[in-house]
Symmetry: C6
Subunit: 255 residues, 6 copies
């Protein structure tokens, strides 16, 4: 099976060298965990280091702000979008910006007026075909949960994921965690792989840790390992333990 390098230092060796080609992987975490950075790094390194065209589907953040925020890591997304190595499309289940001015955010992007899941899937498919994207990043699936009926949500998410699986892309999807206490979202059951970005508080400090919750068909690491968000992006430390240097009991409080 072909492997797709993740572009996240330290992660590939936890999963036998990379994602399985054409798999759909979920990245979950609370606000501040770095979910968007994780996915953009996957696209950016894919384009720069492996020459893989990438497609970024943003359901909340504007392309301009995404580009700006990534300057912190020295990633010039604007140049890549101009060269069409990375395309960013903004899909709004609802239509913003009605009152004040026309959106000035559409830099190198196709402005999508997608109202339904079906339209969204067609739009994603069209852009994948146009750009020849090998890497796809969808941020976030939570915006698609347009029904408050949990059973209906299951079917919408199932349909969405199954169609994305057929697009011949290796795909990352982010998902918000609404409750930290042992409850799982339906998408965690439906995706091939789930990566969880934990945030603990140890005393007054934040400790970040990454866990491969599952990765079907892959002999992956089952332990939880620290990661940091550095100037160069996310780095995972697969040979370090969360408990670390000291062996005494620690007060791990869920964030």
């Amino acid at each position: 099976m072909t492997r797709v390098p993740t572009g996240i230092p330290g992660l590939d060796e936890m999963i036998e060298g990379g994602f399985i080609e054409d798999d759909v992987i979920l990245v979950t975490g609370c606000p501040g965990a770095g979910k968007s950075t994780f996915g953009i790094q996957y696209l950016y390194k894919g384009a720069v280091d492996y020459n893989d065209p990438g497609l970024y589907v943003t359901l909340e953040e504007s392309p301009a702000r995404i580009m700006r925020n990534m300057w912190r890591h020295g990633w010039d997304l604007e140049r890549l979008t101009k060269e069409d190595k990375i395309r960013i499309i903004r899909a709004n289940p609802i239509v913003y910006s009605r009152y004040i001015k026309e959106s000035q955010d559409n830099i190198g992007t196709a402005s999508a007026e997608i109202a339904t899941i079906e339209h969204l899937l067609k739009e994603i498919y069209r852009n994948v075909k146009e750009t020849g994207a090998k890497r796809l990043f969808i941020d976030s699936i939570t915006s698609l949960k347009i029904s408050s009926d949990p059973v209906n949500v299951r079917h919408v998410i199932l349909e969405f994921i199954k169609n994305i699986e057929n697009m011949d892309c290796t795909t990352l999807i982010t998902s918000e965690i609404s409750d930290n206490c042992g409850e799982f979202n339906v998408e965690e059951y439906l995706c091939e792989g789930v990566i969880r970005l934990h945030m603990f508080r140890v005393g007054g400090n934040r400790v970040r840790a990454l866990e491969i919750l599952k990765m079907r068909g892959v002999k992956h690491k089952e332990s939880i390992h620290p990661y940091t968000i550095t100037d160069g992006g996310i780095v995972v430390y697969p040979s370090e333990s969360v408990i670390g240097h000291e062996n005494d009991a620690m007060d791990f409080t869920t964030l």
Copy 2:
């Protein structure tokens, strides 16, 4: 009573030699617990070691991906499906893949357009009869909970399980755990047997443990024992304890 060997090393000796023939056993666990691997190993070992024809009813995952994922364990499902020793049918309560392309997943399977529980039961029964399946694996029952009214769910699940009981197969069914904190799903009350796949976190490491929650008519082990997912599949260690070699207090955090 005839016993059906499970194909999971270590498990048979916990339940007097195997499942009771024609029983319906539930396998529960959170994402990453290995529920699908558990059921496929049961079918694969049944076909290879005991010459039992098997039927796999998948409600979420595509047959192609299932076969691919099992390569990790060296199980050649494709060959077995071609010899019709194992048949995989994909039953979709909803219809996927409407927009983009015809599903290329139907390798050696009957493509089912099953919309209701009744249709699904008829389709399962027809395939059981055609293949002479002795082993049946349904993955997962959670997809059948198409009603948000808990009372209605109870009746649908009850009807489904009672009909499956009459199909002359020894059946495994997987079920998602939505909440770890002491709540039980209705199917755990309605099935003859319940096997729970636990995942604890001890420090930064994951500890897997299997528990026979119940097995009617069987004098089964009541203690909880570790299992691992190895290159050769799931292995249970019925003579090892979860607490293990060290006697000091351990920080068992629910995943």
Copy 3:
């Protein structure tokens, strides 16, 4: 007041020699606790040791499977049903087995097509009168909770229990526990007696313990005592403590 021996070794001495004649007693517990075994042992020992005719109303399990499962304990229910010392009726609030074949389970039983509580009560009453049953076992009351409105449930369960109280039988009813954390079901308030079957986990082992939550008009034991499910059925140890021989702190985790 006449006392009815329970047939559970060790239990009678916890409740002044047995249940009060014509009382309705609830048996609660999670999956695997042994609720059905508890009730069948009550009927079986009643028929064999005290010559009491018994009626078993099953709302979920088929009579054939019940008989099979009890072989583990050496109880020949089939002979007793043929002698009409124990009658098993299967009451289905919904009708199973519609598609595939006629149920082959109706061995020595009256097949009931009971759709409503009222019909169910009439059917139970008719069978009690025909068999002269002194002992009645209903498994389980949870199946009667056909309304998702908690207030409506309260009235249905109240009406059911009050009518059962007037049938001149000493009755056991099982009830599922949906949540372990200090919530009580309405039937626990409405019945004369409540017996709770606990399952704790101590380290990797399961510890079973029985508690008389209440028994109106009876000077019952208020402590919690271990029980086991042996080859000969359930045995309670009223002179043993759950904490047992060791005095050190134990990690009692609710199952």
Copy 4:
């Protein structure tokens, strides 16, 4: 202010000698706490020791069973009802016993066909006037919560309690606790006094403890004290502490 002795040994000295005349006091607790025994003892001791006529309004239990259950404590309620010193009325928000036989429970009672709160209040008032009852016991208020809308429940309970306050009786009302974890029922806010019957488990033993949660206008004890249900009824030990003779940490698990 006139004080009404409670008839519960040990309780009067916790509340300056008894309830305030014409107050409405709530008694709360889980199944098995002894709420009904508490209220009947209040009526029985009132009739025998203080010559106070009493009225018992039962919304669930039948008068015959109530009388039988109280034999455990040597209380001859049947004689008292014949002398009309205590009257027991059974108010059914729903009508039981429709199918099988006429209720044989109506010994010395007025059989009430009360359908609504308003009818129930009129019936209670009529019986209070006929018997000259000074003590009133209503068991339980939970049966009156006929609406699943919490706001509606608040108004129904408020209306009920305010009318009972105007009946010139000193009244006890029982209430079920649905959740042990710090949530309060609306009736706990609306009544003049609240007595909570706690049940703890210390190791394998049950420890009962009574607490005056509030008693408006009364300088009451604020500590929690053990009580037992003896052959002679409930006894409170206001000079004993729950923690008791041993000073070491105890594992107080809520039942």
Copy 5:
């Protein structure tokens, strides 16, 4: 800014000398915390010690019972109401006492038939103007939550508080706590100040403690301090700590 002395010994020094004139302060606590006593003491001391006319709006308790309950503290509310120094009005969102007799509780009060928030506000305003009340006490705001829709509740409570703010009174409002575990009521966000009356249980004893959760524009104490309900009313001890004389760990269980 003018300060209004609270009349609660020890409280003024926690909040720079008293409430800010014309502020609306919330007092929250569970049943038995002393919320009503707190507010009546504020009115009573205001009338007796500072000659401030006061208005008491009771939504649940009858004026007669309020007066009676306050005798415990030696407060002669009846005299003060006759002198119109304190006026008590009973506002019933629902109309009580329909069946049995006319309410005899209206001593020195205006009997209000207020059906809506708007009518209630007008009635409060009229009574404030007639009596020249400088202090207003509303007991409790929970009775106004007549909608089960949380968003609707927010608007009703917001409208009520904003109108009360314009009445030129320094106002106390009580609020029930429905859940102790970290959830906040909407009125805690909307009022200028929030005082929380805590009740802990330390071993078998109750420990009361007062906390200024917020007091806008005031440099208030942020620590939590014990209070007691004495014969003379509520007393706060701002220089004592809840943890107190002993430094060892204490088992603080929320009531």
Copy 6:
């Protein structure tokens, strides 16, 4: 990227010198945390120290009370509003003050009769343009959650935030925390930055601590640091730890 100094001593050095220009930052906390003070200090210091015009949109508190409450910190908002350096507008989703008198609060403010989100956005945009505001403060977003359907709330909040992002202001928005236990509000996912104001209780004392939950595009501090509300306003101590001078375990109870 241009940075906007926050005006909160100690905060700028936690976020590389200030907020990113035109970002929308959320400030969350429970009642009493100081959310309003935080936002007003940001406007006040902006106007006085950096000559930035500011706009304050209050959805609950009246402008007069806001000005009064800020006197505690010596901030003369009235003067600044007269000079139009800070403008305060009161936007009421519902219309207050209907019955009693005309609001006397409209000092230097535009009285808005804004009924919908769309009107509110237009009104904010108009005032931003008129005043040339560079700093915007909206207090609080919780008032905009006018639908009890969580999905609908998501869309309303998303639309609101996306429009505010286009107003060329650096914006603070406050948000109420409804539950402390690990649940996140939708706005915490949708904003560029989230600052959480924690309140712990250590023994009987309150400890305040500030945490940058996220700040997209900024290399921010990830540890949690104490803050106090002093006479001069909020001060953060980025070089002090919450655990502080003592190294022993502390009982950190969430408030």
